[in-house]
Every structure is written in structure tokens, then in C-alpha cells.
């Protein structure tokens, strides 16, 4: 696995994938939907797969002395590592967002509940995009379209919770530190879903990939 991750770093990941990690900077834009920075992450993951496909990465990896499913495992790990890194990089920008403070009328505030929801969105995107890709290991447009639509629907649902009047509205959209700290269960649930769906994503993708002719 270590060697495969080295391969991903050295050959598969493009420098722009790292550049996209810096986009949580957008949390400092006033009145801008917080989720947008993370939509770009999905685009970054699409580029990762697109470049790998054009460079015949699946073929190269299949020649290496590894189990066929290991290359799926390595890719799922890389995808989730990039997502986690982006969220970690978000932390200082989220803190800055509240301390400057930045006025945001455009949707949920980048608080703990927000990051919980964002982990959930990554989980859903991974599930649809990766399992869709590994059905053929070369068709990438349709999986992106389906994962994109599902993710947008997820965002609509998540944003509705702070837009449409409901008992949790002010709790979820809070900018007050004491309230934000009480949001930790949402973050925990988000992370749990992200990890569990990540594992399911790997299992389904690996099973599908086993039957693919490289």
C-alpha cells in the first residue's frame, strides 16, 4: 500500500490537485455560500481520474505486482486524504471567518454543523463517482454527472435546513461559539458516515473492478 501511495503521489496526483486544497480561502468572501469551495474539490477529484485515465494509469498499475483490488484501495485512500486535508485546511479560515467577522447571508455559516454536512456530501459524492467509474475503469463523464446531481440535491437539502423555517434553523446557522461547540454530534455523524460510506465505496468499486478488462 505504501508503494502504491508513493505511485499516486509521484505519478497520478497533479499539482493542481494541491492547489484546490487552498480553496477554503473562499470562506473569507463575504456573502458567499460556504459549500462552493468544496464543490471545487469534486472537480479536482474528477481531474485526478481524468488525468490518470489519459495516462493509462489503470493499465500501468495492473502490471505491477499487486492485487488488482489494491489499486482501488489506494485511490480511495488518496481521494479521502485529499478531502480530509481540505477540511483541515479549512479550520484556520473558518476561525478567521468568525473572528474578523465575515458577514454571510448566503447560507450556512462554516461552523461544526457545516463541516458535518460537508463530510456527508463527500461521502455521497465518493459513493456515486467512484463506484460509477470502476464499473468500466474508463468512463468518467456519466459517473461525474450522476455524482454531481446527487451532491447538488444533497446541498439543496442541507441548505434548506438553514433557509426554511424549522426548530433547528438558528442552531445550525449559529455564529456563537458556545452554540457551535454544541454542534459536535453533527460533525461526528458526518465523519462516521464519510468513513463508513468510504469503506462501502471501496468494497463496491473493488468488486466491480475485478470484472473489468483492462
Amino acid at each position: 500500500m505504501k508503494n502504491l501511495l508513493y505511485k499516486e503521489l509521484k505519478l497520478s496526483i497533479h499539482p493542481t490537485n494541491y492547489l484546490f486544497l487552498a480553496l477554503p480561502l473562499m470562506l473569507l468572501i463575504p456573502n458567499y455560500p460556504s459549500y462552493v469551495a468544496y464543490i471545487y474539490m469534486c472537480l479536482s477529484l474528477f481531474f485526478l481520474f481524468l488525468l490518470a485515465r489519459e495516462n493509462k494509469d489503470v493499465y500501468f498499475s495492473s502490471l505491477l505486482p499487486i492485487q488488482k483490488t489494491d489499486q482501488v484501495k489506494a485511490r480511495v485512500v488518496v481521494v479521502m486524504a485529499l478531502e480530509l486535508l481540505q477540511i483541515l485546511i479549512s479550520i484556520p479560515f473558518a476561525i478567521l471567518h468568525f473572528t474578523i467577522p465575515i458577514i454571510n447571508q448566503a447560507g450556512i455559516e462554516p461552523n461544526l454543523a457545516f463541516f458535518g454536512f460537508q463530510f456527508g456530501m463527500f461521502a455521497v459524492f465518493n459513493l456515486f463517482f467512484l463506484t460509477g467509474f470502476y464499473k468500466t475503469a474508463h468512463k468518467i463523464g456519466i459517473p461525474l454527472l450522476i455524482a454531481g446531481i446527487v451532491s447538488i440535491l444533497y446541498y439543496i437539502l442541507a441548505e434548506s435546513l438553514v433557509w426554511i423555517s424549522n426548530p433547528f434553523q438558528s442552531f445550525l446557522d449559529s455564529t456563537v461559539l458556545s452554540v457551535i461547540l454544541k454542534q459536535w454530534p453533527i460533525l461526528l455523524i458526518g465523519i462516521t458516515i464519510w468513513v463508513c460510506l468510504g469503506y462501502i465505496t471501496y468494497k463496491i468499486s473493488a468488486n466491480r473492478f475485478l470484472k473489468v478488462d483492462v
Binding site: N3, Y6, K7, K10, L11, N55, K56, D57, Y59, F60, S62, L63, L64, P65, I66, Q67, K68, L210, K211, V212, D213, V214
Partner: protein, 280 residues
């Protein structure tokens, strides 16, 4: 114990079927895998290595079942499927740097030796290499981890005559000095005349012969004669007959009861056998 044993490998495509492919390669020998373009050579090799998902069949490498021991089996195999064409914008040294980490017995000295022998420059990008150089790089990677079995798909096509000669010499050196075994597919039959010990012949997804080269070559005689010598009785025994203005030429099984003394008889080479078998 054979180094490689393939049993009943099958794979069905909408328009092509690999049909219960079976053959065995003993340690220390070279097997030529021949057949026309599209006969199923590459599909067989890819199915063996699980690049293609076979519907049934078993591949045993040095006593280990490939399906259950993919990692160990791949360590023992050097696999070349044409030239390197992945990551074309990366330098040779970058790809080697990544690849070598996967092999327990990577031999840097041997690798540098092959680079020198094949005149490969480590600082060149893959897309700067010619087709022949890409095959050579692919070979250098496959040969540098002390693989016991080399599976090579058309390793000589795209090489100039000097490089081909050098490569065939290298194959023989590997067999003689290091007890390796080689399975290589090709349609360049003269390469096999020179170095193969065994021939496995595939036609339309079926293995029609898999035996030592001498037995295979002795199976048939090349026969030619005048038009009036072509009796219906004789015609029944001919393989891949071609009629021309002066008569006919064909193959005939060397073991049969017809008296051939009035015909022109010669010993066919691999190319001639292949052409006649495919004409049938």
C-alpha cells in the same frame, strides 16, 4: 514441477471466444506462442495475468495458484505487453523509481546494465522514445527483478534487425545462465525457429497444438505437384492447399498411408506451416 501451467482458460466476448486454453511450460525453456493477429494471443496472456477477467480457468505459476497468490506470482513474472505507453510525459527515471519499489528482488545493477545494453537514456520522457525503444524499456523493467518466468507479448515487433538479434541472444543467455523460462507471443516465426523449444499454436481462440518444436515441425510435410497429380483421394489429405497455374502446393501430415514418391516433398518451416494451417 512446471513453471507455468494454464488450464481451461476461457473468456467470451460478443464476437470472439477464448476456448478452454490449456498448456504447460517447463522450467528452463522457451515457448513460442503463435497465431494470427486476432487469434487470441494477447487475450490469453492478459487473462493469465488477470488484466482481462477470465470466465473460467486456472493459472499455476511455480506451483502457486495465480488467483489466490496474485502478489507472489507477479513477483516471479516479468510481463511485457508491447512498449511502455503509460505516463508518456514522465521521464524514464521517474517511472523506474516508482516501479522498482514494488519488487522485492529489484536489481539496480542489472537494470543499469540493461539500460546501457539497450542504449536507453534515463532522462528521456516516454513520448520521446521510438516504438522500439519503448519495447526495450519495457523489457528492461521486466528483466531487472530476477523474474523466473518472462511472459512477453510480441517483444520483437517494432525492433530493428540488430536489436532483434541482440534480444534473441539475450533470451538464450537467460535460459542458459540463469535458468529462466520464457513464454513469448509473436507472429515473426523466424524468431521462434531460432530460439523456441516449444510451440503453442492458437487459432480462433483454440489451442490447436502445444508441443516441442521438433515434433511440431515433423508433423507436416510440404507437398507440391502438377495439376494432373492432384487426385480427389490426395486432396482429402491436404492441408491449406493452393492451386496455381502449374499445379498445387499444400501441407500433408507426415504420418499417413499415401505413397508420396511421385510428388515433390520438402520439410516445411514454421512460417510455411502457419500459412497453410491458416489457409484451411
Amino acid at each position: 514441477m512446471p513453471i507455468l501451467s494454464v488450464k481451461n482458460l476461457s473468456k467470451t466476448y460478443p464476437k470472439f471466444q477464448l476456448n478452454h486454453v490449456s498448456f504447460t511450460l517447463e522450467k528452463g525453456y522457451i515457448m513460442g506462442f503463435i497465431g494470427r493477429n486476432g487469434a487470441g494471443k494477447t487475450t490469453t496472456l492478459k487473462s493469465m495475468m488477470r488484466l482481462v477477467y477470465p470466465h473460467s480457468g486456472e493459472v499455476i505459476v511455480d506451483g502457486l495458484d495465480f488467483n489466490q497468490n496474485e502478489f507472489e506470482c507477479k513477483q516471479k513474472i516479468g510481463f511485457v505487453l508491447g512498449g511502455v505507453d503509460y505516463y508518456p510525459k514522465k521521464k524514464i527515471k521517474t517511472i523506474t523509481e516508482v516501479t522498482k519499489r514494488f519488487y522485492k528482488s529489484w536489481d539496480e545493477e542489472a537494470y543499469l546494465g540493461y539500460l546501457k545494453r539497450f542504449e536507453l537514456d534515463q532522462d528521456k520522457r516516454i513520448d520521446e522514445l521510438s516504438a522500439g525503444m519503448r519495447v526495450k524499456y519495457s523489457l528492461a523493467l521486466a528483466l531487472s527483478h530476477h523474474a523466473e518466468l518472462l511472459i512477453l507479448d510480441e517483444p520483437t515487433s517494432g525492433l530493428d534487425p540488430v536489436s532483434r538479434d541482440d534480444l534473441l541472444n539475450l533470451f538464450q543467455e537467460l535460459i542458459q545462465n540463469e535458468d529462466k523460462s520464457i513464454l513469448f507471443s509473436t507472429h515473426i516465426t523466424s524468431d521462434l525457429e531460432r530460439c523456441a523449444d516449444y510451440i503453442t499454436y492458437i487459432k480462433d481462440g483454440n489451442i490447436i497444438y502445444s508441443e516441442d518444436k521438433e515434433t511440431f515441425l515433423n508433423r507436416f510435410l510440404e507437398i507440391s505437384g502438377k495439376q494432373d497429380q492432384l487426385t480427389p483421394e490426395l486432396e482429402k489429405h491436404l492441408v491449406g492447399m493452393r492451386k496455381h497455374r502449374f499445379g498445387f502446393e499444400a501441407l500433408i501430415a507426415s504420418q499417413q498411408e499415401i505413397n508420396l514418391s511421385s510428388y515433390e516433398i520438402s520439410k516445411p518451416n514454421l512460417e510455411s506451416i502457419m500459412i497453410h494451417l491458416e489457409r484451411d
